[in-house]
Amino acid sequence: MAYLNIPNVVVRGISACVPRHIDENINYPMEEEDRVKLISSIGVERKRIADKDTCTSDLCFKAAEKLIDELNWDKSEIDCLIFVTQTPDFILPATSCILQHRLGLSTECYTQDISLGCSGWVYGFSSIASLLFAGGGSLRKALLLVGDTTSKVNSKNDKSTWPLFGDAGTATALEFELGSDGLKFHLASDGDGAEAIIIKDGGYRNIISDASLVSNFFEEGISRTNLDVYLDGMSVFSFAISRAPQSVKKLIEKFEIDKDSVDYFEFHQANLYLNEKVRKKLQLEPEKVPYSLKNFGNTSSATIPLTMVTELRDKLKSKKLSHISCAFGVGLSWGSVYFNTDKIVCPDLIEY
């Protein structure tokens, strides 16, 4: 049972960076009546798309630089950097090493890539907090850089993915602080659903070939190559409406959290229809459940920190807040975290 209770770790700041280019779903080429229905059910009106020269690491770099600056952090005290993405710069080396150097961090820095998508922020949060705790103070400050440029692996001719996903990179700053409340997690996985969201070729199970580049027609509005994301929306929906609420309930029960005292419940922004089912199942008031879907879409692992920046920024900066965040998706992989923030640093959304 993957429950974690990690003391002595605090969140100091959160930032997010999105590409400048806005792609409006109202312009997506499909029959108008179907398009209106699609937009209202997924709840995504527009999203940001990275140009061909911009990688996830560039967005995370910008988010990190701004956050370090506003935190007034001495870079030599950042002893840990974790980068969570499914769109790294290269197959090898790990992008986290590149980011350590690019950010000018010490060579004594612990760096690591984690390959997870939608659940990635919660998972990365658990990893980096565990490291800070285990370091017992020798890892002083840490950066969790999380995001994806999913547009690079989506087919424009696939209505089941293109209108849904946007690009974003985020940075979360954490610090070791003896005696602080810390963080509480529930984490889980189910590889039985591995094929529910998958890029079939280009790894080492199916090495890239000429056939990988051919666009295949599946049905009206759905054509893609084997290097594009395939999404079985029905299977993912079925998984998420049961597992997401269950994870939040397990977290609340295990750690005896007073649900009513939680200020905000930040969910992975999958799609509005699904997220509203999850919210209603948990009987949460709409005021406690922020959404950034409308303007940014599903930004994979970046959704939770991005939503905190775009929807809760003023409150994060001025108040002490308690949060439950829950993320779920590709893997299949999911988890929830309970944590507090106390007047954290939260720069304005960055555009790059």
Binding site: A196, D232, M234, S235, F237, S238, I241, Y273
Partner: protein, 76 residues
């Protein structure tokens, strides 16, 4: 679980289609109102009423309401 109740629960997902047209033998994909969103609402109904997870393939490989009933029943 009862087939009759399952058919009624199935029919209740449709807003514009008269519930009385649904039987166990109805080929649901032929119903004009059928859509990908309706499929999601069906999955949600099965999750809520029967605590069973339907996968995309369960729906894609089923023809009639009864086909889905049999899948749900086998997982109860």
């Amino acid at each position: 679980m009862e087939l009759e109740k399952f058919v009624a629960n199935f029919a209740a997902q449709f807003d514009e289609t008269d519930a009385s047209i649904f039987t166990a033998e109805t080929k649901f994909r032929d119903v004009e109102e059928w859509s990908s969103i309706l499929a999601l609402s069906l999955i949600a109904m099965v999750d809520e009423e029967y605590d069973v997870k339907l996968k995309g393939d369960d729906i894609r490989n089923s023809q009639t309401v009864n086909d889905l009933y049999e899948i749900v029943k086998s997982r109860k």
